[in-house]
Amino acid sequence: MPDVAASPIVRMTYRDASRAGIREALLRDPRVFLMGEDVGRYGGAYAVSKGLLAEFGPERIRDTPLSESAFVGAGIGAALGGMRPIVEVMTVNFSLLALDQIVNNAATIRHMSGGQFSVPLVIRMVTGAGRQLAAQHAHSLEGWYAHIPGLRIVAPATLEDVRGMLWTALEDPDPVLIFEHQGLYNMEGDLAANAGPVDIDRAAVRRRGDDVTVVTYGGSLFKSLQAAEMAMAEGISAEVIDLRTLRPLDMETVVASVRRTHRVVVADEGWRSGSLSAEITTRLVEQAFYDLDAPVARVCTEEVPIPYPKHLEDAAVPQPATIRAAIQRVVAAGAR
């Protein structure tokens, strides 16, 4: 681990941090390359890879045609062939065009080949709502992917994670899908100039609290932290857990928190039905039933395709106010 204390602190955005992670990976390992739609000349649909083409050239910053299945599959083949590809899919909605390759090949080849071939592939994609991109660019389908054995699913919500998870993912011998929430790209923060790799196994407690545990990840993390602040004004002490990795789930951290707080709110930008939030809730029922002092509350996206108008989009997805309301609901007045 780098000596963070000795390194200068740099102000940067989540976008910058993501780019820094890619750049470090390219510098560190000649087998690493970035491939995807408009990652090169255009600089990335979300400007994450801006400037990398000039530095690393078109062999390693590869613009692809609009052929999600072919270039994701090519990433699988290149990984089988010894490379460490980073494939960027512009949004999670577009990844559905590559679902065959992700689910039928990347996730299965190791098991189906009796352990002979691993697929050390990293796929980055953008997820989430909040910029009025409507129903084909703003969904949160990471929960779907978290259903699939053979994949590892991570959702960095902080600068440190978006920068540091990539290298750890590239070192993982199996396919890792990284979900970057589009609402986070402009988020600014301080990061050590030499911030390095971080683990992709454990959830993180982002805020300590005693009365209720808010389990969340990605774009809903900062909304949950805001909600926790709002609840503090009412005397409720909320703990906020950032899952970080959606498969495998670090239930140990979640359960340890629930054993103290006895109340849970799950805030997930995915839809409620058949969802990651349902999975977390079920595991709490399985693993922490006798620690629960109130029904688990979920704050999820309304069961609609994401609408275009701002007011409807805002109403559709979890917000600090709706998360706070759920916190209040489970911490009923008389129960404290």
Binding site: R62, A70, F71, G81, D100, S113, Q116, P149, G150
Partner: protein
């Protein structure tokens, strides 16, 4: 297409032996399937042996193979032992994929055999990626990608041909046109049935080859592989062939005439080539029987190996979903 003027007697006998190995292996598979020893889907290659055997002659051990779910012929011709292949068909852990894949998912690291892909068209992008890795690593390798006429209708076919051509990747696309995508005849599936036109539209050089003639296949494959290895970018061969058996074991063949099947059987690649060897390279009936007996013995040994094979313990069910990490391996 010009036939080579002379058949090399030694090599000719090798090609015949390879095709007979596949034929006898698969005939036995059909029998074992009917007896319940092989389960799942079983797709036989009988009638198409000249394609795999001819094409494999052009490849070196460093090259990679991506095949379909009708891949026993490719696996045997590539050098996967019949024993490991038959054990795989049985689902035994001595199988080449530890029995996890079965008939449709043959994998073998030693021979760089990357499946055994049972999604029609699903292997093409992977082949493109294997070639991309070679290209980026400056390795003079070729990835041979087999698929059927059915895959031509898939988006992945077009995406992959385009990408391979765009990036001039070392892929040899081998389209085994047996006229039927399962039960759908090519005219009922493709608006343009001249498949090589599609490849050429992506600026990939493409030839039509008689897939029932092992020497013609070998000759075309050698020329194509040489071009790919030279760095000319991808090449495409349409190998016109026919499967003599049904699509899978459970298929009433309602979609094609028995007369048509009989007509194609007149062009049996093994019989035709054996006749030619007799004619031009002095193959005797005794020699043929010896080659055939050798193939039958190999199959018999494979069956015995598979029968003696063991079942993977159920407590290993979830192994190899993920790769054990170094620290886990160290602490294991």
């Amino acid at each position: 297409m010009s036939e080579p003027a002379v058949v090399d007697p030694q090599h000719g006998r090798h090609l015949l032996a390879e095709m007979l190995r596949i034929r006898r292996f698969e005939e036995r598979c059909a029998e074992l399937y009917s007896a319940g020893h092989i389960r799942g889907f079983l797709h036989l290659y009988i009638g198409e042996e000249a394609v795999a055997v001819g094409a494999m002659q052009a490849l070196t051990p460093d090259d990679a193979i991506v095949a379909t779910y009708r891949e026993h012929g490719h696996a045997l011709a590539r050098g996967i032992p019949a024993t490991a292949l038959m054990a795989e068909m049985f689902g035994k852990q001595e199988g080449c994929s530890r029995g996890r894949g079965g008939s449709m998912h043959v994998f073998d690291a030693a021979t760089r055999f990357y499946g055994g892909n049972a999604i029609v068209g699903g292997g093409l992008p992977v082949a493109v990626g294997l070639a991309l890795a070679d290209r980026m690593s400056n390795r003079p390798r070729v990835t041979a990608c087999f698929f059927g006429d059915g895959a031509v209708a898939e988006g992945e076919f077009h995406e992959s041909l385009n990408l391979a051509a765009l990036w001039r990747l070392p892929v040899l696309f081998l389209c085994e046109n047996n006229l039927y995508a399962m039960g759908t005849r090519i005219e009922r599936a493709l608006a343009e049935t001249d498949i090589v036109m599609k490849a050429r539209s992506y600026r990939i050089p493409a030839d039509v080859v008689d897939g029932m003639d092992v020497l013609a296949v070998e000759d075309a494959a050698r020329r194509a592989v040489a071009a790919v290895r030279r760095g000319d970018g991808p090449m495409f061969l349409e190998l016109q062939t026919y499967r003599f058996r049904a699509h899978s074991m459970f298929d009433a063949e309602l979609y094609r005439d028995k007369a048509e099947v009989e007509q194609w059987k007149q062009r049996d690649p093994i019989a035709i080539f054996a006749a030619r060897l007799t004619r031009e390279a002095g193959l005797t009936a005794g020699e043929y029987q010896e080659i055939d007996a050798h193939a039958l013995r190999e199959v018999q040994e494979a069956v015995a190996f598979a029968e003696a094979g063991t079942w993977e313990p159920v407590d290993e069910l979830t192994t190899d979903v993920y790769t054990p990490r170094m620290e886990e391996v160290r602490h294991a």
